[in-house]
Symmetry: C2
Subunit: 138 residues, 2 copies
DNA sequence: CTAAGTGTAACGAACACAATTACAGATTAG
DNA sequence: CTAATCTGTAATTGTGTTCGTTACACTTAG
């Protein structure tokens, strides 16, 4: 199974931006087509990152805590803490092999660069831009 | 468990570049610290991508089919066909929700951009560069 | 008080990945 | 020719990840 948390999180935030009012996890779950608990688990991370505010009790729910133009997808990415883009081999090296002994550090550099490339890309996209696409669409 | 095929593949190719002669899956497996069959499965993809040549029979094994300077990590990445960097939500949308109906296309764009960013990064790294790092190291 | 929310733990099912076993086929040495 | 040593590949298993689901305590509005 592929990790869809980032996609789910972006969907949630876009829905909140579009609604312009608080939504409960039931409705958010319907939009994403998943379970309310899955939504609430994601909201935990988004709340920690100060992207949303949640309210308990009757008429509770969630709303954005910043304007869509102030939220970049990089913040969302960091909030959900996805697995690294490139996984490095963590097992121990074969001592008598020079390649084996150096691969971990070498691949760490490659992986860090890849991670950075993704982050730079996401940094340039705001929730506002996605919202506009929804509004422009049919 | 994280998909390490790309890392394994880079390791294999670096080892072959370093050895400058054919190696069998037994030795490659020892360097990566895994099973020979895992190596042979990966070699299948690398062979399809014309990065290595394999020989069956006694004294068989694998060697690079290009010079290290001619092999970029992007070719390796494509050869192993890893999962996409960002997984999009494939389940069907909620018809009465405009956000839900447009998220798939919107996220496809975001995911494609992220994928492209990673590919650009990998395109700039050659096996020769990694090989030099191994040689420079202690 | 009651209804309608969230927060969170616990468990299960489906899936992905790697490890492993097994064996057929290819090639070389003798 | 035969034995030894490789690869190619299918099948199975073990383990971890992810998501879905149920359950229930807690919170708040009315």
């Amino acid at each position: 199974m592929v990790n869809q948390q980032f996609t789910f999180a972006v969907h949630i935030l876009t829905a909140l931006a579009f609604a312009e009012e608080t939504m409960d996890s039931q409705h958010l779950a319907a939009s994403v087509n998943t379970n309310p608990v899955v939504i609430r688990r994601l909201l935990l991370g988004l709340r920690r990152a100060h992207l949303v505010e949640t309210y308990t009790g009757k008429h509770g729910g969630t709303k954005l805590s910043k304007r869509p133009a102030q939220i970049s997808l990089l913040e969302v990415y960091d909030a959900v803490q996805p697995r690294p883009v490139i996984a490095i081999n963590e097992r121990k090296a074969l001592k008598q092999c020079r390649v084996s002994c150096n691969m971990r550090e070498i691949m760490s550099g490659v992986a860090a660069g890849a991670e950075d490339a993704v982050r730079q890309h996401l940094r340039g996209i705001t929730l506002q831009q996605l919202l506009r696409k929804v509004r422009r669409a049919a």
